[in-house]
Amino acid sequence: MGSNTLDKAKSPALAALLSSAVLLPAYQSAQADAPPESSEIGFRYGKYQEDAVAGGDTLSGEKSGRYDIDVAQFNLIVPVGDSWSVGLTGQWESMSGASPWFSVYGADGQQKVIMSGASIEDHRAEYGVEARYFHEEGNIGFNYVNSKEDDYHSDSIGADASLNSADGLRTYSLALSTSVDKITPTRGVAPTNTLKADKDIHSIWMGVSQIINDRSIFNLGLGYTQRQGYLTDPYKYRDNRPDNREELVLSGGYRHFFDDQNGALQADYRYFIDSWDVESHTLELAWVQNLNNDIQVTPFIRGYNQSQANFYSDVVVDTGGYYSDDHRLSSYSTVSYGLRLKKNFGPWRVSATAERYESAEGGWRYSQVPNKALVDFWGYSLGFTYNF
């Protein structure tokens, strides 16, 4: 490199020429937002298998398989003219298996999980459409998503906008969304807590992304979500949750590119707190390693830790008030780790990911009321995108 790189300390003559040039339209519009350079279509297939609940942890004494989920996804994005892009998404899931119905103390004084005996089979189909407008200073997007399954129907709309600062180093974002959900639980072997119910979700998010230097960026975000209506899990015995839940999320992210290694470090952190007293921390780290022949390998790890909801109990108790023994509202931590591989073949890109997710009772920072129904799973997925 040496004396042939462009020195940051400029002579007055050079500085004068550069600052005069930069006012010309060509240099201004280089920073403007624009639709993607080409259309892109993609498909992805994934399979997720939850570990069985051990025989020692079920009341029946028998090991019980849990969920198996197959998911297929579709994505299409098309630039339209110089300022617009339109996107279409589709997602189909097929879930089968059993899930915890409720828990009691067994003869040995330990928590025992009672599974929803018969195997559940559920299919979900989701469609979404998005339009995005690009202008000199940023872009604005609108989206609508519809989701349908046998016992659940959701309609949601959202809008988001982002604005670039004059020097192009900072971007401000705002997103809003509202969804209207209808629940009609299917009665199987076990009775359900309701026949028909509604819930609404309103959410707002604000963020700022800042370029630190030509190799690193960071972002900060703040989100607020309000859920109202039937928030109880209809399939869990005696589950009775408040009909209101407010959530606050604080997030931060960092990206740094390392020239010598030809790779990037990705770090993302999220702090969550809600009106049910659930508090959580999430940290995700990934290292994206570029190799020859258009191959990219990314090992990643995620750590999560949450406190329990204020009405949570590990076994059924009849308090007459709010109650849930849903393991997802207990205090626990999880670690997931995996590997992602990507390869480009001209306009085609193929990617494959494998991930392992493990939960541990209680753990780090929060008081522990362990739950035997915590879930571990394996996830695998394969997808491709094509640019045209």
Partner: protein, 298 residues
């Protein structure tokens, strides 16, 4: 993949090299960038009657002409270059070409040169955000000194905006390039002024521009004196002992090109000092074919 797209414009052969996911995506973007180059050529060419240049020149000494934002900023840039070069960079010096006939290999009539010099003088040009006025009949603005280099930058900006992975724009020898992957820059050879098939230096462009100024073709040689076609606006003659060729690497082609032009209007030794002080990579070949500068010998 890298696609090559060749065409003629700005007085010479032009080439785009575009790195994109597929050939036809690259072609689509190349066409748009080509259109942008032609737009600038149409707008600023003094050979076209409908260009803003012709309109301005036809109104010299009579009335002011209204101009758009882009033209105003170009005039503003030319003004900065005029000040920074101590008056050597002068967009009104084009009219001096009427006195010189480089094909005939004869020197001009000094009387004619002096009369024409009265029509040269950037300091007299009046311009503001919306209009420009040339005070004397016979005065001319020639955007030739800026528009080719600006077109390189404009084409590159358009390709960047369309999010191609990398591009090289070469408009008759003025070059700009960018690459999302700095590990694979573009390799450019700087032509030797007297032997065009030889490279006097090679340069790697990742996100920068290379502009060259030189009297490769047009000059008058009488005895052992060489008269370059790059004329000094203060004298109407080429500068004595001016360099044979100058190449400069800068963040954009416009600045690279005007700096090269300015250096060509100085004595070789003064040019070397000025380029050195400018602080960006440079190459200078003097009339004895000696090469100097940070780009030399690479």
């Amino acid at each position: 993949m890298v696609m090559k797209y060749a065409f003629k414009a700005m007085g010479g052969p032009c080439v785009f090299r575009i790195k994109a996911r597929s050939e036809h995506i690259a072609y689509d973007h190349a066409q748009a960038a080509h259109e942008e180059v032609l737009r600038l050529e149409r707008r600023y060419s003094r050979y076209r009657e409908d260009s803003i240049t012709s309109t301005i020149n036809a109104s010299a000494g009579k009335n002011s002409v209204s101009i758009d934002e882009e033209t105003y900023r170009l005039l503003n840039y030319a003004d900065t270059a005029f000040k920074v070069s101590g008056g050597l960079f002068d967009l009104t010096s084009g009219v001096l070409r009427r006195c010189w006939d480089f094909r005939s290999q004869t020197l001009p009539n000094q009387d004619e040169v002096e009369r024409t010099l009265t029509r040269v003088g950037w300091a007299g040009v009046r311009f503001s955000k919306g209009e420009v006025f040339l005070p004397d009949i016979g005065m001319e603005i020639d955007f030739g000194g800026v528009v080719k280099e600006y077109a390189v930058d404009a084409a590159l900006a358009l390709l960047k905006k369309r999010k191609v992975e990398g591009a090289l724009v070469d408009l008759a020898g003025d070059i700009g390039a960018f690459s999302n992957d700095p590990g694979t820059p573009w390799d450019i050879g700087i032509k030797h002024p007297r032997s065009p098939e030889k490279a006097v230096a090679t340069v790697q462009l990742a996100n920068s521009a290379l502009a060259s100024s030189g009297d490769y073709e047009r000059c008058i040689v009488i005895g052992d004196r060489r008269y370059s076609h790059i004329l000094n606006p203060k004298t109407g003659w080429p500068t004595n002992n001016a360099p044979l060729a100058v190449s400069i690497l800068a963040p954009n082609c416009l600045v690279a090109g005007s700096s090269a032009t300015i250096a060509m209007l100085m004595h070789s030794s003064a040019a070397r000092a000025w380029l050195s002080e400018l602080g960006i990579p440079w190459l200078l070949v003097d009339s004895d074919l000696n090469t100097y500068g940070t780009l030399a010998g690479i």
